[in-house]
Amino acid sequence: MSGSDTTSRAAASAGEQIVLRVVDLVRDYERSDGLRLQAVSGVNLVVRRGETLGLVGESGCGKSSLGRAILQLPPPTSGAVFFEGQDLTKLDRGTLRRCRRHLQMVFQDPISSLNPRRRVGEIVAEPLRIWDAAPSEEIRRRVCEVLEIVGFSPEEVWDRKPHEFSGGQCQRISLARAVVLTPALLICDEPVSALDASVQAQILNLLQEMKTRYRLTMMFISHDLAVVKNVSDRVAVMYLGKIVETGPTELIYRRPRHHYTRALMDSILTVQSKLPEQEALAGELPSALDPPGGCRFRTRCPRCEAKCAQLEPPLADIEQGHAVACHFPIP
């Protein structure tokens, strides 16, 4: 079953260190009133082995849709998703299914991510039951191991149900389920947004430990710039279905070049900063049903000129590894 699978993976990793390459991905939704809404409009991105790509943007920017489209849940409307060299959008169902064990996801809602009717042991063992014909004793041993790594005493939690746990603990269980198969790529969709600050820190630290231990490659989706900075090696900023800026974390945070990235950073409130007189970004996110022509950010951009309405700025390298989609980037 996994013969062709492993060879293709080996070939891919020998060729290049790119785990995931998303090409011109578009994701449409048809609303119940028949209108088509484009959540993701032509996204290109790359995730390299061992790195964490932070995908940051405000609600409605399409970051979650992008994450799910990569997993083919549901598949994108158009575009390609190369995972370990294979285009997931072109695979037949059986092959895609076999690829899934290498692609895992952690979701935002810790409670909703776990089946309330099943026990923790079963939940974490499920991936192994599906994919490994190992004897139960072996499965049990491996599940206990991963439960211990995420900070539980396996004997104590094995037979408990999700509602007996707090949000942070549920998120630990989700994480255990996601890594028990040591996936090649882990997509985390707002994994700490529903948690309190102190619990958030526990989970972020745990993610970091897991990343080292399992040599995980991650895509970390969040609206929280401070969290993204903590976990990511590279960052991609999304606005209204498009990536507007991407580059190494330190570089972007030190010197954002897109006006939207800059506004996002200026919106962060810290205990040191006093509330400014003027908001960092005025106005509202335009409707994805009818996005502005040209640059999508132009309706709220302080630097907008006539050119911005006519010509859509491409996402182009402004320096090595740092790309910006803006006609007039911040110098």
């Binding site: 600050a197 102190s198 526990q202 090696d233 919106s267 962060i268 409130l269």
Partner: protein, 340 residues
Amino acid sequence: MPAINIRGLSTHFRTPRGVVRAVQDVSFSVGAGRTLGIVGESGCGKSVLSRSILRLVPEPPGIRAGGEVLFEGRDLQRLDESALRDIRGSAIAMIFQDPMTSLNPVLTIGRQIGEVLERHLAYNRSKARTRAVELLETVGVQCGPKRLDEYPHQLSGGMRQRVTIAMALACRPRLLIADEPTTALDATVQMQILILLKRLQRETGMAMIFISHDLGAVASVADEIAVMYAGRIVEKAPRADLFESMRMPYTQALLRARPDLDAPPHMRLGALEGRPPDLARIPEGCAFAPRCSHADAHCRIGAPPLRADGGHSFACWKPIDHALPAEPVRANGDDGSPKP
């Protein structure tokens, strides 16, 4: 004279698991034009506290377990229900986290703002409509008359929150209680709303109680900050004072848990282990002691009272001592902990 003065307020709940002490012996006052920020994690009782002020906690299971809420010479805890209804929404207004649930989904926003004006200020329909347009413009919702006929679901989250603010301000309240007003909003919209709230406060001179789990948001609007843990205020100080010389280890832990924007990626965060206590089973002694790196045996025996040191009060047996170069404080428990 403070706009509101709360003394020893306690709110409990009777539940099958026992008595939940959601708010325990909370005291503070807020002056006109001033903002008190209340910060704490979920389940620390901050929302119950905000609802207890206007007695919006359903009884039962809620129990008014003591204390007084003095507002303009009257104790709201002992006021009869009809007098209280006249205060709610007019002299004291509230805004909540989720504007979708605090707005009625089947009424237009014009109708909802109009109702407040008709109820408290006895406006007629047409006068109420004109005033509603003005109010919406004050909170930054443009093209008023058209907007009046829209329903809440037609607005974005930020716009809905602006509408609830317009409703809250309709009767020029002397006190605004904002319970996590920006938690459901994006960062850029959060900043818009906070700036709006501050501007409106400057213009009307109202007092404000701003409740949030987000230390950054609280710090940006509040003049004075109170930190809540397990139903009690554990530290309270003017904004600058609190962050420069915090005394309570919990406040420090809360601050350190947030990723620092200036720190490089992959920095290990100062995570606080464990989680807040169950309010039905608050541990004896200091409720924070089981998670506190400073705690010793003494902390587990008696609950520390909230002690004032100038304008800075804190409830801790082993406060962080800023006179000393390094922390944690001293290894010797006894001489490190001042007597109550």
